[in-house]
Each structure stands twice: as structure tokens, then as C-alpha cells.
């Protein structure tokens, strides 16, 4: 049986996780969304997944383990280092953006403020990463 494609999201803010989940519902077909509330939670969940997520949305500002630390761990792990990681942050500080790319982020997307914008951003994310690009897990 074919595994359903997976999208993973990490954010410590419950409201943001809810908004992202609702926004994905509007534009996904068969993909399953995995929500994690911390870097540790994500790493534990990844261990249990049958396939790599098509992409990961990663918040930067989180307690205990920052998004940069999570990104560093993923890029250092041969099981996950090919997984596309999209930084999803409220920060528009250029040093954060530059550092994310230096650490191997696949892109950096500014987190929106309203639900309407969330829907629009998530739709653009899905159109590019699920319909235009190919990822190591999405077409295999």
C-alpha cells in the first residue's frame, strides 16, 4: 500500500499550529500533516514516520531548542539531511535569513499575521513544493 505524502510543521505556538493546520486543510488532497510543538517532539515523530515529509515548516523562535538548532540537527543526520526545510518565522531580520540559508534551509518564508494570509501563503507553498518541485520523498 502506498504511503500518503506527509508535511511536517514545528511551532511552539498552539494558535499558529491551529492556523497552519486549518490553512492546509483547504489546499491539500491526500497529504497528511504532522504537527510538532517543539524540536524534540519533531525528532521523536520523525523516527516513527514511514517516509520523509515532502517538506518541513520550521519555526525559529522556540524555547529549549531553537529552529536553527533543529535545522543543524537535521542537516547533520543522514536520515533527514535531504528533507526540504522551509523556515517559517515572524522574523524578517536579514541576519536570521542569511543564517538560515547558510545552515542549509531550503527557503525562508515570513509567517503571516491573519488567517486569510495564512491560507494564501500555504496555497503558494503547496503549489510550488507539491506541484512544481520534486522532493526526495514526494515522487518515489
Amino acid at each position: 500500500m502506498k504511503n500518503r505524502p506527509i508535511i511536517a510543521v514545528v511551532d511552539d505556538d498552539e494558535d499558529d499550529l491551529f492556523l497552519i493546520q486549518e490553512a492546509f486543510k483547504a489546499c491539500l488532497k491526500e497529504e497528511k500533516v504532522i504537527l510538532a510543538n517543539s524540536g524534540q517532539d519533531l525528532l521523536a515523530r520523525l523516527e516513527t514516520l514511514p517516509i520523509l515529509p515532502s517538506f518541513l515548516l520550521l519555526d525559529l523562535n522556540m524555547p529549549l531548542m531553537s529552529g536553527f538548532e533543529v535545522l543543524g540537527k537535521l542537516r547533520a543526520d543522514s536520515r533527514y539531511n535531504l528533507m526540504p526545510v522551509l523556515i517559517f518565522s515572524t522574523s524578517s531580520a536579514q541576519p536570521d535569513i542569511d543564517r538560515a540559508y547558510e545552515l542549509g534551509a531550503n527557503s525562508y518564508v515570513k509567517k503571516p499575521v491573519s488567517f486569510h494570509e495564512y491560507q494564501s501563503v500555504v496555497e503558494d507553498l503547496c503549489n510550488f513544493w507539491l506541484n512544481i518541485a520534486s522532493t526526495p520523498s514526494s515522487r518515489i
Binding site: L82, P84, S92, Q94, I97, D98, Y101, E102, G104, N106, S107, Y108, V109, K110, V121, D124, L125, N127, F128, W129, N131, I132, A133, S134, T135, P136, R139, I140
Partner: protein
């Protein structure tokens, strides 16, 4: 909200590349072409040509059907400033080995060549022009940086 999208197209000139360039013009995407067939072309571009051209790419698109991506990605990803520039590798088909190779080399993503770039371009632009925050790349930072820290006596172009 984000910096300007400026695309450097890397590959051998052919009708497909012309079609991509035409589509970029149609959708208002600033771009330049670099023929990287000759060894050292990228090196020369970023060490000299870039300063002359005053065109600093914030995204690179490399045609793996006409250009070996490995030396190009190796050069970029070992440079302290250029490594920030996202690189899209595109090519014919969707073979899993090609997809894996692109990501393994450090590409931002792999794009299978679409039947029509004009059809894909609205989604491409909605993402890269509207949503993505791009790195800041300054010519002076590139020129001031030794691109080959482990090869201090390498000949410069």
C-alpha cells in the same frame, strides 16, 4: 516584503533556456545567463564578472541537462557568502536518482522541466517573488572573501 528576485541562469544556450528566459521576461523576473560549460566560468563570474556586471543573483537556476551541477554546487557551497544563494536544479524528467542527487549536492530543490514554463511561472513567481525572503548578497563581501580557504595558492581568474 522580501528583497528583489534576481535569477542567474546557468546552462548551455538552447531553445529551452531561451524559453525560460522569455517566460522570466514576461513575468517580470530579473535574470542573467551564464554559460558554465567551461571550467572556471562560475569562478570567474563571481570573482570578476559579477563586479563588472553589477548583477548580484539571489537565486540560481542550473540546467543539469547541459551543465554538470557537481562542480558548480561544490564551488558555491564551499564559499562563505555564495553558499547562501538558493540553487534550483532543473532537468528533464523526474527520475528519483536525479532528484536525490540534486538535494545531496545542496540544491534548494529539483524542478522537472515543465512542458511550458509559462504555465508553471505563476506558481513559481507566487512563491519566489511574493513569499520567500532571499539572502542579502553584497558584491564587496564576495570579492573580499577567499573562496578557497583550503587552497590558498589556487590561481585566481
Amino acid at each position: 516584503m522580501t528583497g528583489p528576485l534576481a535569477v542567474l541562469l546557468v546552462g548551455t544556450p538552447n531553445p529551452e533556456l531561451q524559453a525560460l528566459g522569455k517566460s522570466f521576461r514576461k513575468f517580470g523576473v530579473s535574470h542573467r545567463h551564464l554559460s558554465a560549460g567551461e571550467d572556471g566560468a562560475m569562478d570567474a563570474y563571481f570573482q570578476k564578472g559579477l563586479a563588472d556586471a553589477l548583477f548580484v543573483p539571489t537565486l540560481i537556476m542550473l540546467d543539469m541537462d547541459t551543465c554538470d551541477p557537481e562542480p558548480v554546487l561544490s564551488l558555491l557551497k564551499h564559499h562563505s557568502v555564495l553558499r547562501r544563494i538558493p540553487v534550483i536544479i532543473y532537468g528533464q524528467g523526474n527520475d528519483p536518482e536525479r532528484v536525490h542527487l540534486a538535494y545531496r549536492l545542496g540544491a534548494t530543490c529539483y524542478l522537472p522541466k515543465p512542458e511550458s514554463w509559462d504555465t508553471s511561472m505563476p506558481h513559481f513567481c507566487s512563491y519566489w517573488k511574493k513569499r520567500v525572503a532571499l539572502p542579502a548578497i553584497k558584491v564587496e563581501d564576495i570579492l573580499a572573501t577567499n573562496p578557497y580557504p583550503n587552497q590558498s595558492n589556487r590561481k585566481r581568474h
